[in-house]
């Protein structure tokens, strides 16, 4: 009896923390050295995909403070200006939560199109902030490649998130 409630508790804990654990893993994964030429410059914003997906489909499991913490962690580990990714991920999160009715449909293409819009918008803002931060006009080309790689990876990650949602969250 006791054991059963314990496993029940463990299960509900896993359900509640699953999106958070996934995004934390993506944050760490995105700074691991790959040895692929130029990949480190255009590393996809994996955490942005995670924050977008869970903010749209399960905003209760992706609260604002958590998004902020992941953003700051990503900033610190990547060595970028601290606060930048925190701000961008918060923007993505805010748009997703407020536009849930539109974005949270069964249609995969609506979700993808939504992500493309949000990701491009967030990165343009990010590029402007960084140019102001370093007081120099940085080449936008790496940012464009980074966004393109991120957008291309969305279907795969969204599929994996969807599977994990089916297995763990709807059981």
């Amino acid at each position: 009896m006791n054991e059963r409630t314990l496993t029940g508790q463990a299960k509900s804990l896993l359900r509640a923390t699953l999106p958070g654990i996934q995004v934390l893993f993506l944050v760490l994964l995105s700074v691991v050295p790959t040895g692929i030429p130029y990949f480190s410059v255009v590393t996809p914003l994996l955490a942005m995909i995670g924050v977008y997906y869970w903010s749209v489909y399960r905003p209760d499991l992706m609260p604002t403070p958590l998004v902020f913490v992941f953003g700051v962690l990503l900033d610190i580990l990547s060595g970028g200006p601290v606060g930048l990714m925190a701000l961008l991920l918060l923007l993505v999160h805010g748009i997703c939560v407020s536009q849930r009715q539109v974005l949270a449909t069964k249609s995969f293409y609506v979700g993808w199109f939504g992500f493309i819009t949000v990701a491009v918008g967030a990165n343009v803002i990010g590029w402007v902030i960084v140019c102001a931060f370093f007081q120099s006009l940085l080449s936008p080309v790496p940012v464009l490649i980074q966004v393109t790689v991120t957008i291309a990876l969305y279907p795969l990650l969204a599929h994996l998130f969807g599977r994990s949602e089916q297995i763990f969250l709807q059981a």
Binding site: T34, T64, D75, G79, P81
Partner: protein, 293 residues
Amino acid sequence: MRAQGGKMLRLAIPLKVMVQRFAFALFVVASAALLILAKADIAMMEKVRTVVTDAAAPVLGVLSQPVVAINNAVDGVENLIDLREENARLKGENARLLHWQGVARRLEQENARYRSLLQVQFEPPVDPVVARIIADSGGPFVRTVLVNAGRRAGIRKGQAVVNDDGLVGRIVEAGEKSSRVLLLTDLNSRIPVVMEASRHRAILAGDNSARPRLEFIPVSAQVSAGDRVVTSGDGGLFPPGLAIGIVADLGDGLPKVQPFADREQIEYVRVLRFDLPRLGVGQADADMVGAGQ
């Protein structure tokens, strides 16, 4: 009563939304405040950064292991494929290097003799620490890597970081167990250099591209493609004569340098613990210079 209850319920939902919006605005403002603090570059932010990277270092160390293993396996296969060619090349190189070894020995003795005649102060010995890169991926805006050694291993801010090919960058943040290396291609990297043959001094300035620029070259200096660029040792932080790269592109503006150290091939680096005691470049000064750059 019933009507009042209904009103309460109608009020409760907007209240929840309002609290959520307030929390959202609060965190957006916090992010903006962090950006301003980061720009101000205060000591507290650096402390926070090093504490977080120290905490994450063991996890990143483990996560980067499979990548290392895969890369090693790929390298192994590649090596097998061109074993014959490689062997021929190495034999040729060995013959050439043996000749150079003889020359170097003779010059070393000659130099030592001249130094003792002139009573030149010897450079302090350089004491390297080997560290592994555990995080790399600053994204499009910065060129930095994290290594798995820090203050406990004697690493301090400002020290030079090299690999087998040449200079990689310098330490900008030293935690207890991890340190951040600013690569020489980063926008904020400025390294005092000297053209090996002509002895003209310049500053190697990164601009986030693969090839940093040479700034402040004397007007009279003749720079041509293929010139070797090495550290000058000015400022007392870097040992002089560390190989950096060759002038690759004269272009229209400032000449560009192709570094010898290929960023993507870097797995292990050596941090050079180099102190100039006679100049009094101790920890405090090193920190000051590091912060000033």
